[in-house]
Subunit: 189 residues, 2 copies
């Protein structure tokens, strides 16, 4: 997706060898016009697949998923990392490792909002080692939902996330795939 | 906002005397059509005020803010409660007490994304004791941004949040105001 790649080249910031910061337009400040272009592109990539719900994970995935959902005309469910007193007690649960927070965390989705009738598209901002996507796939398997695929804004093509997700038999569509971000230089696949 | 009130009556669940769960359509599963109606209504309520940015707080505010931002044609910034390794070190910070998590937490916004040039609308799902709104107002004051107002989906009219925010000289617009939710019965103001 050219407009996204150009924006990453213009406003993305490489920290060290593995971290690409896109917090000026994707995951702290959000450019809603760009998110709309991203949402349209996800619809194009998954246009022939029936989808009844979008699943994402808090926090950075939520804005992307909500804007994209308008093109699919479906509700969004987000997996919770942080439980409040008003969270349901009857949840699907899985565990993931956070690359940016350097620790394991549990994710939960109320059993009310995923079922065997759902055909679910997973949407997230990044795919790197696949931790979040695999945990969401685990939750969808527990719910016996059909998995329509995984839609990713930025994939770190030099990390194994895609292979791990595809090994589960799940289709991955990434809008920008990084070949490398070594030495402060962003190279797309 | 009638469509919102009717939806709360239909799908809201009262727990105890103070908790209204709206997680089937607002803050766990999100009805994107309803969020669009909410976004349009926020635009209507703030139509004569210049706004350059929407500020919200993770996680439940993000979807509402992103959909609403389409009607204002502005970017969204969300305050972070949970810091990752790639978070900027130069942030505005404030502290809030979480009613649903029963503890204090810090919120942070990178100094890059709020300035004295910004005219900011705060958007959040709930206003109760005003903790989150007051912390966001504190951050906007640190940034010397102009505060255009606070837009709330559901206000607990029996708690002091509105008064505390208005005492700061900030306009509050709530789309549904609860008079009480005692004995499992939802009564609007």
């Amino acid at each position: 997706m050219e407009v996204l790649k150009n924006r990453i080249l213009k406003d993305g910031v490489v920290l060290g060898d593995n971290i690409l910061k896109v917090d000026s337009f994707i995951n702290h400040q959000m450019d809603i016009k760009l998110l709309n272009q991203i949402g349209k592109e996800f619809k194009e990539r998954f246009k022939n697949i029936e989808i009844t719900k979008i699943l994402t994970i808090e926090a950075s995935g939520i804005g992307i998923a909500c804007i994209a959902a308008q093109y699919f005309d479906v509700p969004v469910v987000f997996a919770k990392k942080h439980e409040g007193i008003n969270m349901d007690k009857d949840n699907y649960e899985s565990e993931a490792f956070s690359f940016t927070k350097k620790k394991n965390y549990k994710i939960k989705v109320s059993k009310k909002y995923l079922s065997a009738e759902d055909k679910v598209l997973i949407i997230d901002d990044f795919l790197a080692n696949g931790n979040a996507s695999l945990a969401l796939i685990d939750i969808l398997n527990q719910a016996k939902s059909e998995i329509a695929g995984v839609g990713i804004v930025i994939e770190k093509g030099f990390q194994p996330g895609r292979k791990l997700v595809e090994d589960k038999g799940v289709k991955v569509e990434s809008l920008a795939i990084l070949e490398s971000i070594s030495n402060g230089k962003i190279i797309f696949k």
